[in-house]
Each structure stands twice: as structure tokens, then as C-alpha cells.
């Protein structure tokens, strides 16, 4: 498939998009928290793949390379958003930001249980967002996306021991933030 992609085979590219679009959008969503923005970032990911496939050195697997681009583009999106935020106070006052992650209701859960889960998910999401970038990426890929430490290391282009250290620090920081939060809430 890689050879076909490098030749510019349209069918091969369409197959790649079909295979990876949901996974890329899901990864981007963990950073953007908005489905529309996640799709926009995912589109940028596939355009980058289209532009750069001829330069893909095959020193990692194709999926690892795709996830690496997804993470890079997602972090770029967050940096751009931070710059815009300085001038975007009005948007938030008018409620134009869509930052809420909706947890789907399970068929047998009660409304108050669903609300509690939604609130917990939001607290967790905000705590993850407050982590430094490299810890955020490691914990997102590991905990939200379910990648193994080896897969996370390949995507982040680092060693397994570095990922283990990042995850340890991320979980420790998350624990501190959540502890402070619940200490004030309860």
C-alpha cells in the first residue's frame, strides 16, 4: 500500500482515509474537545499525509507515522487556540465555544448517574488539559486511546522508559490536581 500511496494512487489514498479516519478523528478529539474541530484537524492530517507520503522513510510503521502527524497537528491547533483566546473573551461570553464532551447515556443508567459521570469526565478532561504537553500526549495516547507503552514511544519518537517516566509523572500530577479539586468540593 505504501508504494501505491507514494505513486499517488488515488484509490490507495481513499482506502487509507477510510481505514484511519475514525482513529485520527478520535485522537484529535482528545485534544480539541470539539467534534467539528477534530474533523478539521483530521483533514489537515490527511492533507499532510498526501503532501508528505513521498518523503516517508518507512523507519516506523505507517500507522505510527499517521498518529504522530495527528498528535503534532493537534498540538499546533491548541497553540493557535491559545493565541486566539487572548482575543476571544467575547466568544466565550456569548457561548460560542463548544467545549463540553457529551458522554453517551447508557440505556440502563439513571439521569443523575449520567450527570455525575459527565461531571467526572469534565473534571478529568480539565486536569489532563492542564498537564505539560508531553505528559498530556503520553497519558492521552495511553489511557484514552489504549496504546501500549511501546506504541506510545514509537508515536512520540522516544524510548519506552521515557514514556514510562512521563506516564508516572502525568498520573502523579493528575492525582495532585484531583486531590485538590475534591478536597475543596467535599
Amino acid at each position: 500500500m505504501i508504494e501505491a500511496l507514494k505513486r499517488g494512487d488515488t484509490n490507495a489514498f481513499n482506502m487509507l482515509v477510510k481505514e484511519f479516519q475514525n482513529k485520527v478523528i478520535a485522537t484529535c478529539f482528545r485534544f480539541t474537545h470539539s467534534k467539528e474541530d477534530a474533523e478539521d484537524v483530521a483533514q489537515e492530517v490527511f492533507i499532510e499525509i498526501h503532501k508528505s507520503i513521498s518523503r516517508f522513510r518507512e523507519d516506523s510503521s505507517l500507522s505510527t507515522w499517521i498518529y504522530r502527524i495527528s498528535v503534532t497537528k493537534s498540538l499546533d491547533y491548541l497553540r493557535k487556540k491559545k493565541r486566539k483566546k487572548r482575543y476571544g473573551i467575547v466568544r466565550s461570553i456569548l457561548g460560542l465555544e463548544n467545549d463540553v464532551e457529551i458522554i453517551p447515556a447508557s440505556s440502563n443508567s439513571l439521569p443523575d448517574v449520567r450527570l455525575e459521570q459527565k461531571e467526572r469526565a469534565l473534571v478529568l478532561r480539565n486536569s489532563v488539559d492542564a498537564l505539560p504537553d508531553n505528559q498530556k500526549v503520553a497519558i492521552t495516547l495511553s489511557q484514552y486511546e489504549g496504546f501500549s507503552n511501546k506504541e506510545v514511544a514509537d508515536i512520540m519518537d522516544t524510548t519506552v522508559s521515557a514514556v514510562e517516566s512521563l506516564l508516572h509523572r502525568a498520573k502523579s500530577n493528575l492525582h495532585k490536581k484531583l486531590y485538590n479539586y475534591y478536597e475543596n468540593e467535599l
Binding site: R30, Q43, I47, R120, L174, L178, Y182, L186
Partner: protein, 113 residues
Amino acid sequence: MKRKEQIEQEIQKTMSCFKNAKKIEAGPFFSARLQAKINTYETNKNRSWGKIFTMEYLQPALLLVFLLANILTATLIIGNNNAESLSRTEILKKLAEEYSFQQEEYSLLTFSE
């Protein structure tokens, strides 16, 4: 101690939300929108003007040229404005001299009893 245990329980419940995170799927028009963007990119890539603007090493050079052109234009405009205002001042002085508006020469307007 009980409070600490309670907090730890809340933390564990919250951390379990990682497993229950929402699954996201592509919208129905994702592929179509992507294809349109790629077509636009390919069209711009093939145009000669488009080629110039997509060549990354030329972009900073072109930006510099535009900046210099703007600075030069602004300098010329400001310089012209100064030249015009000087000539206006000179014109006003000449008018004042011609119509004798200077105080020493108000001989017609002064009178003595």
C-alpha cells in the same frame, strides 16, 4: 482519615472515566470535504503563480520584498506630505506679505486725532 479515603475513592472513580470516554466517528461528509481540499491543493500546486507561493524557501523572500515596498511607499508619501506643507506655508506667507497683513504696515488703519 475517613475524609482522605473518601477523596481517594472520588479520584479513583474519576480516573476510571478514561475507559468510558466517548467514541467518535467521522461525519458523513468528511471524505467529500477532504477530497475537495486536496483537489484545491493540487490545482494551486500546478499553477505557476500557485507554485511560487507554495515554494517554502521563496515565501520569506517574497514577504521581505512586500515589506520593503510598503516601507518605501510610506516614506515617499510622508516625504511628499512634508514638501506640500512647506509650500503651503510659503504660499500663506506670500499672501500675507502681498495683502499687507503685517502689523507695522497698517498705516491705513491707524489714525490719530
